[in-house]
């Protein structure tokens, strides 16, 4: 079931925020106006991805530089090799809704 996490204007372009949804930490990223939601934990050493940065279509972990594809969650730059879980996110009106599926 989709759950409202924030207003669409709450997360500026190039920024991320962390939310608790259904008992999980979920990062929401605004990459040039497109929103992405994924597990807020790097698969390498468990740092919060929301404390990293977005570059293009990737999120970069601030601890050790692992990079993940925002769309698929795939690890595209080491040291991480395992993907992060991604969640579906939608914009309805002024709201951002995350669905853990």
């Amino acid at each position: 079931m989709a759950e409202r996490v924030a207003g669409r204007d709450d997360i500026p372009v190039g920024e991320m925020r962390s939310f608790e949804v259904g008992g999980r930490e979920v990062a929401v990223a605004n990459a040039d106006g497109t929103f992405y939601a994924f597990e807020d934990e790097c698969t390498h050493q468990f740092c919060r991805l929301s404390e990293g940065d977005i570059e293009g279509d990737r999120v970069i972990c601030a601890c050790h530089g692992s990079e993940f594809d925002l769309e698929t969650g795939d690890a595209v730059n080491p040291p991480a090799t395992e993907p992060v879980e991604t969640y579906s996110i939608s914009v309805e009106g002024d709201d951002l809704l995350v669905d853990l599926g």
């Binding site: 050493q45 404390e51 972990c61 050790h64 040291p79 090799t81």
Partner: protein, 391 residues
């Protein structure tokens, strides 16, 4: 005739190179020769998670076995290259095989010096996974660990040993550890972190000899590495604290390239520089591979590394052999800060303590040879991304 490229060295740099060669579409033979009995694996955990028993050996491998078999990469492990013939070039393998190749990449890494000590179960260095296993076994019964050298490897081993409850004495030749790399003020912060965690850190101590006695002490010598330049030197290539290469990772011999720990690379931002870090091994290995394929690309990555000690994540980007100004952003006291090193107004390097995001953003400034306003660097309200000059 089939084209052949040979990569000497099956560490991360060699691994990154062979993966990049195939990734870039090279369809000839690729041969990777390594002295160790393993496929390329990650060394950073050997002083940290792996040493503490928190990570399995299987998790050290960056690419699965299938990444080599499916990409048709010929892997020769536990095999030394006895000679490099620069004309051709060609390599001669242990066992007598000679491979004539279109290009040879030297990714031979380095070896840790023992400082005249005799290797034993209690006098150890750290480079390979077997080294890490030996240190771990020794620590389990150790009365005390003596670490020689307070550089990053030594300090990480010290921090891991403290985490395992082992008493640690760390000996450093300099009066302030890492003073040449990060300056006196930051070197003292670094020293304080170790002392706060119970390490008996003794500075200004030169080690004259390492001898085993009847006590239970274990010695780990962590004073950097000597680059494995033997093949290159014997082949008559230019060597100067590493195999000398230009910006494109080309050695003084046509068709022979070098990358990673062994390469003294002519960096467009920093000048000639040999870098002993993970990220460089991966990126420079891949860049050298592209250069072998004739891509006209100077390797200009600004360099970056991390070191985790206790609960401190330290990161450095860029390189500064000297600087005339430092700027602090954040709180040194709270171990939540970045320090910027500038010379003539140009940002050359950044050190972050629990500040990975600042370091990553500053890398863009370093790569752009930016002259950021020092007040803006210090002001935490200023987003460092806004300081990148328009290109």
């Amino acid at each position: 005739m089939t084209r052949i490229l040979v990569v000497v060295g099956a560490g991360l740099c060699g691994g990154a190179a062979v993966q990049a060669l195939r990734g870039e579409g090279f369809d000839g033979r690729i041969v990777m020769v390594g002295a160790e009995p393993h496929l390329p694996y990650e060394r950073p955990p050997l002083s940290k998670e792996y040493l503490r028993g928190e990570q399995d050996r299987d998790a050290l491998f960056l690419w699965p076995e299938s990444a080599y078999s499916e990409n048709d990469i010929e892997v020769r492990l536990e095999t030394r290259v006895l000679a490099l013939h620069p004309d051709g070039p060609a390599v001669e393998l242990e066992g007598g095989e000679r491979i004539d190749a279109e290009g040879v990449l030297l990714a031979t890494g380095g070896r840790p010096p023992l400082l005249g000590g005799e290797p034993s179960d209690r006098v150890l260095t750290l480079r390979t996974v077997e080294d890490a296993d030996r240190i771990r076994a020794a620590l389990d019964g150790a009365g005390r660990l003596v670490v020689v050298g307070a550089g990053f490897i030594g300090a990480e081993v010290a921090a891991s040993a403290r985490g395992l409850g082992v008493e640690v004495t760390m000996l450093e030749m300099l009066d302030v550890p890492l003073v040449r790399a990060i300056g006196e003020e930051m070197g003292k912060v670094y020293a304080a972190i170790h002392r706060d965690h119970g390490v008996d850190l003794r500075t200004g101590e030169s080690v004259k000899a390492v001898e085993e006695d009847s006590g239970g002490d274990v010695v780990v010598i962590g004073v950097g590495i000597e680059p494995n330049v033997d093949l290159a030197r014997d082949a008559g290539l230019e060597v100067d604290d590493g195999v000398v290469v230009d910006g494109r990772c080309r050695t003084s011999a046509a068709g022979v390239f070098a990358a990673g720990d062994v390469a003294r690379h002519d960096h467009p931002l920093f000048g000639p520089l040999r870098v002993e870090h993970y990220d460089n091994a991966l990126k420079q290995g891949a860049a050298a591979a592209r250069s072998m394929l004739g891509r006209d690309e100077v390797f200009d990555d600004p360099h970056w590394f991390w070191s985790d000690q206790y609960d401190v994540n330290l990161q450095v980007a860029g390189f500064a052999s000297s600087w005339d100004r430092t700027v602090v952003r954040g709180s040194i006291e709270d171990l939540d800060f970045a320090v910027f090193f500038l010379r003539d107004g140009v940002l050359l390097s950044v050190l972050g303590v629990n500040r990975g995001k600042d370091v990553r953003r500053a890398m863009k400034l370093i790569a752009a040879r930016a002259r950021p306003d020092p007040g803006s660097l210090a002001d935490q309200e200023v987003d460092l991304r806004t300081l990148v000059p328009a290109s």
